[in-house]
């Protein structure tokens, strides 16, 4: 993978993560959508380490501070 691709994946991951945390209440659904997103292949192993209770807290935080 080239450096450019790595950066594009990182940008996509960050945007997708914030959007999902902002739009979806169910942490399990957020995790499912992240894990099955074909564009997030390089991040799959990292996403597998996410704990649903922390994703739930992240939803609370993004709804409070995101704008």
């Amino acid at each position: 993978m080239t450096a450019k691709n790595v950066d594009e994946t990182s940008a996509y991951f960050q945007k997708r993560l914030l959007d999902l945390l902002n739009q979806i209440d169910d942490p399990e659904k957020i995790l499912f959508l992240l894990r099955t997103d074909p564009s997030l292949g390089p991040y799959r192993a990292y996403i597998e380490t996410f704990e649903s209770r922390m994703v739930e807290v992240a939803v609370e935080l993004v709804r409070k501070w995101g704008r």
Partner: protein, 291 residues
């Protein structure tokens, strides 16, 4: 030399009332100021400005920010504008050092957010290192990074210290070790202080942050165990005081220990009394530390 002990200054009136006796008694050696707090449309109060100028003139003013989002993969006009404001800020006040937070908060349409962790990859390391270099070029003072409380899972907890070290190499920077953030990860991920601290470059620690926080009660994950959060709105937990004492022994380069409490959270006399007690206890711990 013993580390200085000081406050993260807040411009709110309740904070002024709570902190005033500490200034009057000469117990505030150093101030930390979240620089972008003064960049809003509402000007900061005169008393806040006077304190910042006074401590700046004494070379006892530390800059801090959460708004830079240097680990965002996309470099935006917002970050460029932030750097321009920083240049003005550093011309108008004499900061001793400047620290920013590990993590990212802006992406896509979000211009502000909570800080979230990023995994270490060649891309995120390159992005972060470049962001810190830009910061260093503009600020022209030592640059540091603060550890983040929030983690999505064990990998974030395990890797954060090493990633921060690799980022700091780019600017020969310093570490702001936030002990309540460490405590959050200890509690939320069942880690000991020794396990967490072993991953951090303790030789780079110049500042320590101490604060209180609060609890969240998530429904998912099949457990009723709460999540500790770094909200700066409560008393300092006993565990964080104990950690302060231990960490000071491990970090000989500490120059300042900063007590953090958000403005607009000191709503009654009990909370104000607790704020002063916590500060005095922290000062006592630092003063009594054997060198």
């Amino acid at each position: 030399m013993k580390p200085w002990v000081g406050l993260s200054l807040m411009p709110q009136e309740d904070f002024r009332q709570a902190a005033y006796p500490l200034f009057e008694q000469g117990e505030v050696d150093v101030l930390e100021w979240s620089i972008d707090m003064g960049w809003g449309e509402v000007p900061i109060p005169v008393w806040t400005k006077e304190l910042l100028d006074f401590y700046g003139d004494q070379r006892r003013l530390l800059g801090h920010s959460i708004g830079y989002s240097f680990l965002s993969a996309e470099w935006t006009h917002q970050q460029q504008a932030w750097l321009m404001r920083l240049a003005d800020e550093c011309r108008s006040r004499r900061y001793r050092r400047l620290s920013v937070h590990f993590g990212f908060m802006t992406a896509g349409s979000f211009r502000e957010n909570t800080l979230l962790p990023v995994p270490q990859t060649s891309g995120t390391l390159r992005t972060g290192s470049e962001g810190l270099r830009k910061l260093s070029e503009i600020a022209k003072i030592p640059i540091g990074l603060e550890n983040l409380a929030f983690a999505f899972g064990q990998q974030d907890v395990r890797d954060q210290g090493g990633f921060i070290n690799d980022l700091l190499v780019a600017v020969e920077g310093f570490l702001v070790l936030d002990l309540h953030n460490l405590y959050c990860q200890m509690f939320n991920f069942r880690k000991t202080a020794v396990e967490l601290l072993s991953g951090y470059p303790l030789e780079r620690v110049c500042e320590i942050h101490v604060s209180g926080g609060s609890w969240s009660h998530p429904q998912s994950g099949g457990t009723a165990i709460p999540i500790r959060r770094d909200t700066h709105d409560g008393p300092v937990p006993e565990e964080v005081f104990e950690l302060s004492s231990e960490v000071l022994k491990l970090c000989p380069g500490v120059e300042a220990v900063i007590f953090e409490r958000l403005g607009d959270t000191l709503t009654n006399s009990e909370e104000i009394t607790q704020f002063r007690k916590d500060y005095s206890r922290l000062r006592e711990i630092v003063t009594n530390q054997k060198q």
